[in-house]
Symmetry: C2
Subunit: 312 residues, 2 copies
């Protein structure tokens, strides 16, 4: 297999794009494509300040690397979740995020959940009795809350996450199996900003997971190989496996599924307009972040519950 | 496992409904449910004449049996497709359809494609070069055309087919993976009548395939076990297998997928109204059936092409 651009030996073959590239041209192609997606979905401009949610994994470190290479003003945010599970997960992922930042002289904000709220994620989850024995729901809630808080407090315009196509297609698949209207009408590469909420964007949403792996390997970016230990057996991993079966039978199926959805949403040929009112958001009386819950937001309520349990 | 109704030994266990029944109560339950679906989706009344498309398989014979047991005026239509493939498929399926009709003193119309149009389905498909070497596209076209023609010529109000949940969910899955708007906005248990087109209904759309198998076995209905030999390797069978995986992991997933789709369609919370105009249908200048194609309908065009090839 030869590189389509220069004829040298290809190191990445993308059947879904009928495209093979050598390492050098692959490292050009990925940012070019990313720039195209950023423009196509009107994610942000070079004048805006971007906060990249960095987990230490290949997607978020790859994203940060690409954005910096494209000349965007992108700082990182690492959230210390306090997940250990015998593999020192959080500690190791923080080390790798910090290593990347240091090597490239980039600014990485580090926020530690335990320092801020007294307990690491697994304990918060346990004490708040949310999520049926898994900390994933509380973790998601905390991450959304903290990312928004930091973006707002530090004056970032945009919050960028490293969700790739496999992530997005799996979420779409789950929402579709349940025909979850509210989520289907909202899912996309850009969630517009609202009062006190930064715009959220997913510049990697059209890259296959393996494309991001290849990018990080080719760039020599050291990232944490392990998935979060709590992800094992999750619905989302199950959906990814099903979609991978489909992809193997028909290369490109996953991308088509996601892109045709975005097209159908945009064209108005299938779905109604998203008429979810953002108007009913009001500031949480505790943290000031926008919430649709009465009085205080879900995150503050969770913390309150944990504190009550801990003190009693 | 005990029958929920009488406590006797259950012979059918439906995990998806959390319901186990003995043979006797299962044979009551299936028609009761069917009657409920007929009413819920406003399929037809006892005053209307129903033509059941009978293939000799479990679904269509089961459907005919249920409708007759429920007191509906239901005659059968068997279409002789001329499929042999070394297993005498059409001949055997016709024999079983006729056997059921004779044993129950029911009227079965038999229409033979070869007698009507000079060639059996595989030859029509071959000569018309449709469907990439598989006769399935031509077979579908011919079945739709002939069913409509007979229903209209013989004055039936409704055309009922034996599509079960597995069939419907597989079609929905395929349409969803491609976000095929036109099909998604139309798919459902009832296709309303239009000028010269009988209403089409699928009273078994909420029964799992295995529920229909169990019904026919319990009723002692002899049906053809073989699938059409041309179905092997089809997209639809592939989707059925994927959905069966999902169903195994989460009993009821297939039913939820289909029912939530129908609900979302009906509620208007997700999809736009189906605004496909039926107004642009006009009668085919050859057969008189409604068509959106200019001048003659796709079926007549196919037959014309085959005749031209055959004569030359």
């Amino acid at each position: 297999m030869k590189c389509k651009k220069c004829g040298a030996k290809a190191s990445v073959n993308m059947r879904q794009h009928k495209l093979a590239l050598c390492k050098e041209h692959y490292l050009e192609w990925v940012p070019e494509q990313t720039a195209r997606f950023i423009k196509k979905y009107e994610m942000f401009t070079h004048y805006e300040k971007i906060l990249v949610a960095v987990s230490g994994g290949k997607d978020s470190l790859g994203l940060w690397d690409i954005l910096v290479r494209l000349g965007y003003q992108a700082d990182g945010l690492y959230l210390g979740l306090g997940i250990d599970e015998g593999i020192n997960y959080s500690h190791e992922s923080q080390r790798l995020a910090q290593k990347y930042a240091d090597e490239h002289q980039l600014k990485l904000h580090v926020v530690d959940i335990e320092k801020e709220y007294g307990q690491p994620i697994p304990v918060l989850a346990d004490k708040s009795h949310r999520g049926y024995g898994k900390p994933c729901a509380v973790c998601g809630l905390a991450k959304r809350h903290e990312m928004n808080r930091i973006a707002r407090d530090l004056g970032y315009d945009v919050l960028a996450t490293g969700h790739n196509l496999d992530d997005e297609a799996a979420v779409l698949f789950g929402n579709t199996l349940a025909w979850a209207s509210e989520f289907l009408l909202r899912q996309g590469p850009v969630l517009p900003s609202a009062d006190g909420l930064a715009r959220k964007v997913k510049p990697l949403c059209r890259f296959y997971e393996r494309e991001m792996t290849a990018y990080c390997l080719a760039r020599g970016i050291e990232y944490i190989y392990e998935e979060c230990p709590f992800a094992e057996g999750s619905q989302s991993i199950y959906y990814k496996e099903l979609l991978n079966q489909l992809e193997t039978a028909r290369p490109g199926a996953k991308l088509t599924f996601y892109l045709r959805f975005l097209e159908a949403r945009k064209s108005g040929e299938l779905f109604i307009e998203n008429n979810v009112e953002r108007a009913h958001l009001h500031p949480c009386s505790r943290c000031g972040q926008p919430t649709s819950a009465p009085d205080i937001c879900s995150f503050c309520r969770m913390i309150e519950k944990v504190n009550a349990v801990t003190e009693s």
